[in-house]
Assembly symmetry: C2
Homo-oligomer: 274 residues x 2
Amino acid sequence: MTRPWQVATIAGVGLIGGSFALALRKAGFAGRIIGVSSPRTVKAALERGAIDEALPLEEAAAQSDVVFLAQPIETILETLRVLDQHVRPGTLITDAGSTKAMIVARAAETIRTGRFVGGHPMAGKEARGVEAADADLFRGRPWVLTAPEPELEAWIAKIGARLVILPAAEHDRLVGMVSHLPQLLSTALASTFALEPHVARIAGPAAMDLTRLALSPFDIWKDIFATNTAEIDAALASFIARLTEIRANLTNNPAMAQEFDKAAGAARALRKLS
Amino acid sequence: MTRPWQVATIAGVGLIGGSFALALRKAGFAGRIIGVSSPRTVKAALERGAIDEALPLEEAAAQSDVVFLAQPIETILETLRVLDQHVRPGTLITDAGSTKAMIVARAAETIRTGRFVGGHPMAGKEARGVEAADADLFRGRPWVLTAPEPELEAWIAKIGARLVILPAAEHDRLVGMVSHLPQLLSTALASTFALEPHVARIAGPAAMDLTRLALSPFDIWKDIFATNTAEIDAALASFIARLTEIRANLTNNPAMAQEFDKAAGAARALRKLS
């Protein structure tokens, strides 16, 4: 048995960590929220009202019921090396990393005193940092957990996110297709355009739709490529195979009609369910 | 010398043809607009106020200063076989086909009495038919001409479109990259998703952006694939090569950082210029 959350630590009070803090408050969390971040971020988070105080990780973890790791993936992996020695027995440790298998594996090696459940709140926006934090960022968006965890699930529901429970490996395979592959298609398309000076004169909504993701900076993707390499490789391989087949069938009307029908059905299904 | 347009024929009074008629009117065209279309479309176009009267092609062409072919590409190619014998000397014939090289080549073979300039107004919307026609459809959008034509250029400016003069082959190469390739990427991505029941549970804005085009029905693409096969094939080949390179470089941070920088630069340039 664990007591209901009274003290929460948020490590990495950027857009996601800051938004989670604001969302908890808005949903009625009456306990204390401790921020662990760089001095600059901590100052901004205190000014934004996202956290009640700032402490070093060891001190924060020692008094918390839950520790939420909202740092870059590589930093989460590093934090997991040192965190367990500082927490009280039964402390829930969860995270917001965009890939799950390596994080869950690391936690399985290192977390003994606390309990770990991997998480991935699938929300974001272009602006970054706690200045852009928003209590409603997660509303209507999926929040993946790698295993059930009743109190965390209750807060996810209260902040308006949509709970999805997926094993870490299945999560990584799916986001490889649904998020990492689209990013790489957009980047590849935009860099194809980079060589063509006249493209901008005739680009329309199609080109705009497909190159919006290409505006993302590499630094948020580096850790994702490093920690989901095999699944992204498989998604790219399967996409390249499909595109090669389409290329071969370009003037085969029955085959292309079938491909378009299947694709339109999937695109419609996506819009109904999400 | 040709007289200023007093009578215009629009062959194919759907979304594009109907919008061009309404745009001409709004821009001050005081002459007569004759529609050539199926009985059902002609009735809707008359009700919509897009055309003044409907006539068979031969009769309409015989009294027109300009004939605007806004039919499907294959129908434009057929119309160009028979049109010239009906027009008066010097009549301007232009079109709205999404590919240009085959149409311009056909016109070069068949148009002797009239004069042909290929056109591609790069505008559209999801709804189709003259019921969805809109006098402002072309506002701010590129309108490609395959050669200069002063009076047509003046009307393109008056209806608010942005004139782009491109030789037919260069047009087809560019739209192969900027429009036809994005469509096929979107279709291929959505049909990849079709096999994965859980994708819809975690799909976010990235998946939505990249599968919107996949909602397009095949019937508007069939003629494009048939008449721009070589350029689309080349665009696919070059995109597949780039994606294969990205796949090989996935964990090569300097190479990927460079790829992302180049892509982001191109995506930003697209947004500044269009």
